[in-house]
């Protein structure tokens, strides 16, 4: 008989002996919830390293055993049997045997969900691609459904729940004016201040008006408004619809024969599409005011700033920005509602939908902004 190893933790010790195809694990001391963790891996490793035909746990020295100890014994049994060998526990005191019988019917596997297999890089890429493809398919299907429903709403305006639409417009639009105005003002102010310092060295600080006017109206006004809307209203749509899904209210609508897209999504999309350009106008206006504050502090009269602004920007710049904001509003509301409707069950599902709505919304806004940049460039706008 060859003693291979002796392990001792706070109040448990074990020793392994190997004898012609039989490995025996002698366990001594308390096998409880506090001590078992310390010997778990080492005990399992004995089977993996010695590959015995027969594995015996000699429990004559076990003074105390609880559920954790039984779990280790069951795990050892499972591991040994999976390897094709036989398993036995000897000299376990009667009182602990009853505990083993109590849990003994539970099949022991790696975990309740099975062992997560480590995926190769290619498998991971494949899995992510499938997931992206699946999400894309859902997005396309939802866009189609929403488009059809919006056309139907245009053909039958009395089917639209206008009261809900105005309510959402107030929440997502009117109530968002202070934050949109504040961010727009700060954006204009900071941009003007940061650009005025270097431009002044070249005597070009009057052109700060051009920079503020063009960048706010064409790009930053619509973009910042849309991102604010995604964070503020897109998440709210997802949370509201997600909660309704969890509380079976969406199912109730479906079984009443009411289309959730018409009933819940259309009012929100219409509200967002109508409010985003208005909020963008506020963002632009306050951005320009922020720029004006800096220019006045640099010694330029307001009328000079105004004239420079009017000479730099045209109606086309404003319209291109507003047309972008229409599309951004559609995307933010659509994605927010889609994520809400996709909510699964459980306490964390609404949170996941909300996060997903904001992240997807911002990503789609960025993509769409790029598309618009190319489109406007091609059209010479």
């Amino acid at each position: 008989m060859l003693a291979l190893e002796t392990e001792k933790t706070a109040s448990i010790g074990f020793r392994v002996s190997i004898d012609s195809g039989t490995s025996t694990l002698f366990v001594v001391g308390r096998l409880d919830v506090h001590t078992t963790g310390g010997v778990w891996q080492k005990a399992l490793r004995v089977i993996e390293e010695s590959h015995p035909d027969r594995f015996v746990v000699d429990a004559s020295g076990v003074t105390y055993c609880d559920g954790a100890g039984i779990a280790l014994l069951l795990k050892l049994q499972d591991r040994q049997r999976s390897a094709g060998g036989s398993f036995a526990i000897v000299s376990l005191r009667e009182v602990f045997h009853r505990l083993l019988d109590l849990y003994g019917n539970i099949p022991v596997t790696e975990s309740a969900q099975g062992t997560p297999t480590r995926l190769s890089f290619v498998e991971q890429v494949g899995r992510v691609s499938l997931e992206v493809g699946h999400n894309l398919r859902i997005l396309v299907a939802f866009t189609g459904q929403l488009t059809v429903t919006l056309f139907r709403a245009a053909a039958h305006p009395h089917h639209v729940r206008w009261r809900d639409m105005w309510h959402v417009a107030e929440l997502a639009g009117v109530n968002a004016i202070p934050i949109v105005a504040l961010i727009g003002f700060l954006l204009g102010l900071i941009m003007a201040f940061q650009s005025a310092i270097p431009m002044r060295r070249f005597g070009a600080d009057i052109f700060v008006a051009n920079l503020i006017g063009l960048s706010m109206l064409r790009e930053l006004g619509p973009l910042m408004t849309a991102i604010l809307l995604a964070g503020r209203s897109g998440s709210a749509f997802a949370a509201e619809l997600g909660t309704m899904k969890v509380r079976e209210e969406i199912d109730a609508l479906s079984t009443m024969g009411l289309d959730p897209v018409r009933f819940l999504v259309v009012p929100r999309v219409l509200a967002a599409v109508s409010m985003t350009p208005l909020l963008t106008i506020f963002a632009n206006l306050f951005g320009l005011i922020g720029g004006a504050v800096v220019m006045i502090s640099l010694g330029y009269p307001l009328v000079t700033y105004g004239n420079q602004l009017l000479s730099a920007v045209h109606l086309g710049d404003l319209i291109s920005g507003l047309s972008k904001s229409l599309a951004f509003g559609l995307v933010v509301a659509g994605v927010g509602c889609l994520r809400g409707l996709q909510t699964t069950t459980g306490a964390s599902a609404v949170g996941e939908s909300t996060t997903s709505a904001v992240v997807s919304g911002i990503i789609l806004i960025a993509i769409l902004d790029g598309v618009f940049a190319v489109l406007f460039y091609s059209l010479g706008i």
Binding site: D101, L102, N105, M244, R247, E248, E249, D251, A252, S254, T255, M256, G257, L258
Partner: protein, 262 residues
């Protein structure tokens, strides 16, 4: 309360044929068939995880089965689309486990909603009908309350009133007694019986609350997750006293299974 019992007739209101359902890729109900007759209180029961709610959600068209047919008043719910599906949906109302009342609407507005969407009744008439339905379930004094302002039992009664807004032939109830105290639960049972006997509404109820089942059920089917099939069908008292299936007897007598007791 002495009310006349509904007895099965030759007419069949709901016919489920060779129905197989899966949840997340694994079969939970395998090839079952049964019928529901007009005016009866039909209870689907079984242990946790036996597929009771899954079956109900297939019957009301929320899920698509792997195979089989669900005929509601002659129309197949599984294959129906467009107008046929819309017609089937008007034949039944559903009360969900948590009531599923719309939180942004008062009780009256909740009950009015199906009327607004599917009828051209004047405003006054819709309000009157909504109040009548609320009165039927004893909630006429709470018509202007929001769902969050009333108790769980009241929410369930309001959900029944909303489900009855269009006077459907069938009411599906998902675990009506879940989360209610015994007295509220008994009151809800009385309401179900009163509606079934006086209005001849057919009830399909998912439940595993034995007192409630004995109180309301004309017939039950019992699902067993081990065999994924119906293991018993008939009046609950009869199954309790005469069933030859050990598990069925254990269920009705609230006995632990041999596995659990070791």
């Amino acid at each position: 309360m002495n009310l006349p019992m509904a007895s099965p007739t030759e007419d069949v209101l709901i016919r489920v044929e060779h129905f197989t359902a899966a949840y997340q890729g694994s079969v939970v109900i395998d090839d079952i068939s049964f019928e529901v007759y007009p005016g009866e209180v039909f209870v689907i029961l079984g242990g946790s995880g036996s597929g009771k709610s899954t079956l109900l959600k297939h019957m009301i068209g929320l899920f698509e089965p792997v195979s089989g047919a669900i005929l509601i008043d002659g129309d197949d719910m599984v294959t129906a689309g467009g107008d046929t599906r819309a017609r089937i949906l008007t034949k039944f109302g559903v009360m969900y486990q948590q009531g599923a009342l719309f939180g942004s609407m008062t009780l009256r507005e909740n009950v009015r909603l199906p009327l607004e969407e599917f009828t051209d009744l004047p405003d006054e008439a819709m309000n009157l009908i909504a109040d009548m339905k609320l009165k039927l379930v004893g909630l006429d004094a709470f018509a202007t309350y929001m769902p969050s302002e009333i108790s769980g039992g009241m929410q369930k009664r309001a959900a029944i009133a909303r489900a009855m807004a269009l006077d459907p032939l069938i009411l599906f109830l998902d675990e009506p007694s879940a989360g209610l105290d015994p007295i509220t639960s008994a009151e809800l049972d009385q309401l179900i019986l009163r509606l079934a006997r006086s209005l001849r509404i057919t009830f399909v109820v998912v439940s595993h609350e034995l007192p409630s089942i004995y109180a309301i059920a004309d017939r039950v089917i019992m699902l067993d997750k081990r065999v994924k099939k119906i293991v018993a069908m008939g009046p609950p008292q009869e199954l309790r006293d005469k069933s030859t299936n050990t598990w069925v007897r254990q269920f009705f007598n609230r006995e632990a299974s041999a596995e659990a007791t070791g």
